[in-house]
């Protein structure tokens, strides 16, 4: 299994942040949220939930964390606690949605306008989810090690919420539109090489 590690070794430990939160330090809470929001979001994302549902899960999980900080025995196990809690909240959201969809189907007389549902594969285990997060952490490190030009291109192509078109990327980066595909391929190969060096890449 991928070893989890903070992206920046000089950041305060999770234990330090939790202890400061328990003393009422809102700044420490902000750092805790910033550090683990992606981990929490990745759980409903892996289950195929819609963006607003992902935010709802995040809200409920961080509320539970704020209310239960004093019960966390070993703060370094917080990722596991967050994944387990996010998984339960996600499960409830899925059940509620299924229930609503079954009511909708019952109310609909025809087949038209049936709501599109996201495909949900088997429920990932907590271990699966922690592996996902480990890969995400390494992906972040890998992206940071790319040449700036490649990092910018891949960020715009794959990580930008607005999903810009090739025309927009071409204008923003001063890159001929016809070069985007080949450059992307070269950058993806570079990223793969970096990720393999960080211990990620092999399947199975």
């Amino acid at each position: 299994m991928i070893q989890l590690r903070p992206s920046h070794q000089d950041e305060p430990s999770t234990t330090n942040l939790v202890h400061r939160c328990l003393q009422g330090d809102a700044n420490a809470w902000g750092q805790l949220v910033a550090r683990y929001a992606r981990l929490v979001h990745a759980v409903p994302v892996r289950h195929g939930l819609a963006p607003h549902e992902v935010d709802d899960v995040g809200q409920e999980v961080f509320l539970a964390l704020a209310q239960n900080l004093h019960t966390i025995d070993d703060p370094e196990r917080l990722p596991g606690w967050l994944v387990t809690t996010a998984r339960r909240v996600t499960w409830r959201v899925i059940q509620r949605r299924r229930h609503e969809e079954s009511l909708d189907q019952f109310a609909d007389s025809g087949e038209e306008e049936r709501r599109t549902t996201l495909p949900v594969a088997r429920m990932p285990t907590p271990e699966d989810l922690l592996v996902t997060w480990g890969r995400q952490e390494v992906l972040t490190q890998g992206m940071a090690r790319l040449q700036p030009r490649c990092r910018e291109l891949l960020t715009r192509l794959f990580l930008d919420h607005d999903e810009p078109s090739y025309d927009e990327i071409s204008a923003a980066l001063g890159l001929p539109k016809g070069s985007i595909g080949p450059t992307r391929n070269r950058c993806l190969q570079q990223l793969r090489t970096i990720l393999e060096g960080l211990g990620v890449g092999a399947v199975g």
Binding site: A66, R77, T84, P126, L188
Partner: protein, 203 residues
């Protein structure tokens, strides 16, 4: 000499859904090396998608950060996850001498009943080789409404799930291959507070 599918062709296949040429497609079917490369690229594509979809927006981050002050000002708002019902053991067939060896044969099979407010959890544990099969029935009082399915988890001493299963619509579940040991059980329901069994001995 073997000519593999080129990296650019595989990248186009995975990231652009471009069809391979007939020759390349045929080679891919029979070449474990190329299929491995394709699988790794698909995993990378998935990782990039998860990264994009998991990135919290500024508004979401601001809401999460504000929760700290809200909880400190109002220590007891809605605590759906925190307000767990504790189910306690109310009946154990091993404590009933007259039932020893009755039903399912063998003294190693035992039944337990746990209860909490409007819900009961009935368990039957039976050996399956060196492991155990745990069958359960989550029984909700009639006037408490239907709240199935539920998510049943057996947790280790760190509170991390070791076994996880969903009940059917009637609250029935089965967990195969359980290692004997001490667990905590957590039952997450859709519309009601979770139920916790703090100590569950599987012997």
């Amino acid at each position: 000499m073997t000519v593999h599918v080129s990296p650019d062709e595989l990248l186009s296949l995975v990231f652009d859904a471009t069809d391979l040429s007939a020759a390349a497609a045929h080679h891919l079917e029979t070449c474990a090396h190329c299929r491995q490369q394709e699988a790794e690229l698909r995993l990378l594509a998935t990782d990039l998608t998860i990264a994009r979809l998991s990135e919290p927006g500024p508004a979401a981050l601001a809401r999460y950060q504000a929760l700290f002050a809200q909880v400190q000002q109002q220590p007891a708002p809605l605590q759906r996850l925190a307000n767990r019902l504790r189910a306690v053991l109310t009946w154990d067939s091993r404590q009933q001498p007259l039932l020893q060896g009755v039903r399912s044969g063998g003294a190693a099979v035992y039944r337990q009943l746990y209860a909490a407010e409007d819900v009961e959890l009935e368990l039957m544990v039976e050996p399956a080789g060196s492991l155990r099969r745990v069958e359960g029935d989550l029984i909700v009082e009639m006037d408490a409404g239907v709240d199935a399915p539920a998510l049943v988890e057996l947790l280790d001493s760190h509170g991390e799930p070791v076994y996880s299963v969903e009940t059917d619509a009637d609250g029935i579940f089965r967990i195969e291959g359980v290692q004997p040991g001490r667990y905590q059980a957590m039952i997450t329901r859709v519309h009601a507070a979770p139920i916790e069994v703090t100590t569950l001995e599987i012997v």
